[in-house]
């Protein structure tokens, strides 16, 4: 194994799970997360000599995102939904907790975890990706900005709106039907 490959594996492979996690949340049929990650890893390896800096994770995830966008464009099926307006989103942050004294306990049930996955998967790509990068990968606003190619203010706004959308859709798609049944 040559030195370049050794350095690549030491620095990049620890972030393979993060790469796959982002890809699986971005990809929709017929796109496959496996293919996107494979393409991204090959591109990352080819471009590794040009990488500068000490934080390889945002660099790798930006390649994953670019690979997804390329694949989505080629398939003509990956177009993101139009961004909803603030009015459509309903910016009231209290909606998640009204009448729900312990939302965490509600959401830990297995069936609801599946429903949560479905709700997140339905969010527009712009919001889905910032939620994944922040909530699951624990990246900073600056790192997310670098990956998404958007100003930090936009990242903040998308994150807040994405969280609001997630809460609203959770209530309308999961909580409301449950109350009807009960």
């Amino acid at each position: 194994m040559n030195d370049r490959r050794r350095r690549f594996e030491a620095q990049v492979l620890p972030h393979l799970d993060a790469a796959y996690n982002l890809a699986r949340w971005l990809a929709r049929p017929p796109l496959e997360a496996d293919d996107i990650v494979q393409d991204a890893m090959m591109r990352a390896f080819r471009a590794f000599d040009s990488f500068r800096g000490d934080n390889v994770k945002p660099w790798l995830l930006s390649i994953v995102r670019n690979c997804f966008l390329t694949a989505a464009g080629q398939s003509r099926r990956g177009r993101s939904e139009p961004l909803p307006s603030d009015d459509e989103l309903g910016a009231d942050d209290s909606v998640w907790v009204v009448g729900e004294p312990d939302p965490e306990m509600v959401m830990i049930r297995t069936d609801e975890r599946r429903q949560l996955h479905e709700v997140v998967a339905k969010l527009p790509q712009e919001f889905r990706e910032v939620l994944v990068l922040r909530e699951m990968e624990d990246l900073s606003y600056r790192e997310i900005s670098q990956i998404a190619g958007a100003p930090i203010g936009t990242v903040m706004s998308r994150l807040a709106r994405g969280r609001g959308m997630l809460r609203e859709r959770w209530q309308s798609d999961v909580e409301a039907p449950r109350h009807v049944v009960q």
Binding site: S94, V97, S140
Partner: protein, 69 residues
């Protein structure tokens, strides 16, 4: 809660505020039930998403099997 206040709460929750700004927020939510409820909701959302991610992690292809260089 105004949009700016809400954004600031998200910054606080995401540890993106400096110490003095964070302390200001903490003083505020001690006396504001809406703010405390929002923080609780944000935490619940994050915990649920991280739980889902951990649940999925166990089904991934074994480490190192992705690339053939």
């Amino acid at each position: 809660m105004s949009s700016n206040d809400a954004l600031r709460m998200h910054q606080y929750f995401d540890r993106e505020l400096d110490a003095s700004a964070a302390a200001e927020i903490e003083r505020h939510f001690e006396s504001c039930s809406d703010t405390a409820a929002l923080l609780k909701a944000l935490e619940a959302t994050r915990n649920a998403l991280r739980r889902e991610e951990r649940n999925f992690a166990g089904r991934r292809t074994p480490f190192g099997s992705w690339i053939i260089l």
